[in-house]
């Protein structure tokens, strides 16, 4: 996944299969000898417990123990994805949804709980191509946005907003118990994963949901500041990272998005940027 090679092993076949499904977009043809090991198993000392807790380790460290397999699965997946986002080095990584059209990429940098994934899912259903629902990877050489095509993480309530999506989802096959998140492939929303694209638009979803949705243009300096505030690895790139973000802002239109429900916001962005 991006800069990190991982190998997942588990004593639970369902867990292993579910993880394999999630990591399929990142599968490498040849195993990297310098991989990080991820393991989920029942420790022999805990085998007598009812139910026996699952132990999750990454590298040489035990990260958690969890009796529910479905909860262990979500925690393991989240822990691993967070680790990958924080360990990216060959890209400037923004906490952002990212989609693309033939014209270029649209980045949606925002902190957690701003509805990025649902917005991305909505945009895919409207004809955008998928880059990521969580990490906007900016190549420091070309300033292009690259795909980080992890499965799109949705809450149950969000799945209901997309007619027929529930029937297309494959995220619960094989896994005992149901994780509290749902996971979609871009194909489930009638889309596909896009290629590296020039960043044409930056839209910063704000917390204000009052009134109808509106896009307000913002200046280059504010766009750089907002991207920097949502950057996973600016501490590694430091001033060089700010230069990369300035290059992005120089060639992209930047907007603040306020007001409206997720559905309203989706309509507005699709109307504004697909038409372009």
């Amino acid at each position: 996944m991006v800069d990190i090679s991982i190998r997942v092993r588990s004593t639970d076949e369902g867990f292993a299969e579910a993880f394999r499904w999630h990591l399929t977009p990142f599968r490498r043809e040849r195993p990297d000898p310098d991989y990080e090991g991820v393991h989920l198993y029942v420790h022999p000392d805990h085998a007598e417990h009812t139910p026996p807790p699952y132990t999750y380790t990454r590298g040489l460290e035990m990260r958690f123990e969890e009796p529910s397999l479905s909860t262990a699965f979500v925690r393991a997946l989240t822990e691993l994805q967070d680790h990958v986002s924080e360990s990216v080095r060959s890209f400037v990584a923004l906490h952002a949804g990212a989609v693309a059209t033939d014209e270029g990429a649209l980045l949606l940098p925002a902190p957690t709980k701003r509805g990025k994934s649902t917005l991305v899912a909505g945009l895919l259903a409207r004809g955008f191509r998928y880059l990521s629902d969580e990490a906007g990877l900016v190549d420091p050489v070309t300033s292009q946005a690259h795909p980080f095509p992890r499965r799109i993480t949705l809450q149950e309530v969000a799945v209901a907003r997309f007619p027929g999506l529930e029937d297309r989802l494959q995220d619960r096959e094989g896994l005992r118990g149901h994780p509290f998140y749902r996971y979609a492939r871009p194909e489930d929303l009638g889309s596909e994963t896009g290629q590296a694209s020039t960043i044409r638009w930056l839209v910063f979803p704000g917390p204000d949901r009052s009134g109808s949705p509106r896009l307000s243009p913002i200046g280059r300096a504010e766009a750089v500041e907002q991207m920097a505030a949502n950057c996973f690895n600016l501490h590694r790139y430091r001033d060089r990272g700010v230069i990369v973000l300035s290059r992005v802002a120089e060639h992209a239109e930047a907007y603040r998005l306020e007001g409206g429900t997720v559905a309203d916001r989706t309509d507005l962005l699709a109307e504004r940027f697909l038409a372009a």
Partner: protein
């Protein structure tokens, strides 16, 4: 975790002192066995360098020596080559700033060359080129491993650039790429080089190509299109050093303009 067993010195017949056997371990695995403290220190430093830099993927990491002239950097990308640090040492002794002897980091944003901050790890056989360095001679000559993948894994000695009258240089913009070919006894010469041959050679020296993939190729292609590139056939190390010193001011002035 590193640990070391420094052995015990012994007085052998004839009153001669025999240094105890030094053994260096990393996480319990032996990584050095010999009788010289500075050779063991060099192994420790090279091991630390590899550990510290292997994840520095915000840079394109290149197996190369690098020095600075007048604020610009010259890099010497190479396959594993034990004599590369000696070439760098000779240039540092002649007044160049020191960036790296076997690994440097290319900043893809500003195209600056960053050193690793590690002293020079000079091949034991090249100590004779720098007689001002006083180093204890190795009591036992070791047979060199002829396998290509171990060519650069030779006994090394730690040399601070200050011992050569030099200094560590700050990151500097790339001004010249020199691809050395070490051919002992050949006519030492500098030749212009470009196109796919230069790209092929420099790509072979990228240490994190698995991370950068195609993006590294595009980046290096752009570098080669912008920065002058030469092939340096190294028949003799002092001759090669003199050639580089002679050509550098002219080439770097052209690039700066």
């Amino acid at each position: 975790m590193f640990s070391a067993d420094l052995g015990e010195d012994r007085i052998i017949r004839g009153g001669k002192r025999l240094a105890g056997k030094r053994v260096l371990y990393f996480n319990g695995v032996q990584i050095y066995r010999g009788r010289l403290d500075d050779e063991m220190a060099a192994k420790l430093v090279s091991f630390c360098r590899d550990l510290a830099t292997k994840n520095a993927n915000e840079f394109v990491r290149i197996r190369a020596g690098a020095v600075t002239f007048a604020g610009g950097a010259v890099i010497f990308p190479s396959m594993p080559e034990p004599h590369l640090p000696a070439l760098v040492s000779l240039l540092v002794r002649a007044g160049s700033g020191y960036l790296g002897d076997e690994e440097v980091h290319v900043d893809p944003v500003l195209w600056k060359i960053h050193g690793t901050g590690v002293p020079i790890l000079l091949d034991e056989d090249d100590l004779g080129l720098l007689p001002e360095l006083t180093r204890e001679a190795n009591p036992r000559r070791r047979r060199r491993d002829s396998r290509p993948e171990t060519q650069a894994l030779t006994p090394r000695r730690l040399v601070a650039p200050q011992e050569l009258g030099g200094r560590f240089a700050d990151p500097a913009p790339l001004r010249w790429i020199v691809l050395p070919e070490f051919t002992p006894g050949a006519d030492t010469r500098l030749e212009a080089l470009g196109g796919s041959g230069a790209l092929f050679q420099i790509v072979r020296s990228v240490l994190n190509l698995n991370t950068w993939g195609d993006r590294a190729l595009l980046f290096l292609r752009e570098l080669l299109d912008t920065v002058p590139t030469s092939r340096l056939v190294v028949g003799s190390l002092p001759g090669a050093s003199e050639l580089v010193l002679e050509a550098a001011p002219r080439i770097m002035e052209e690039v700066s303009q």
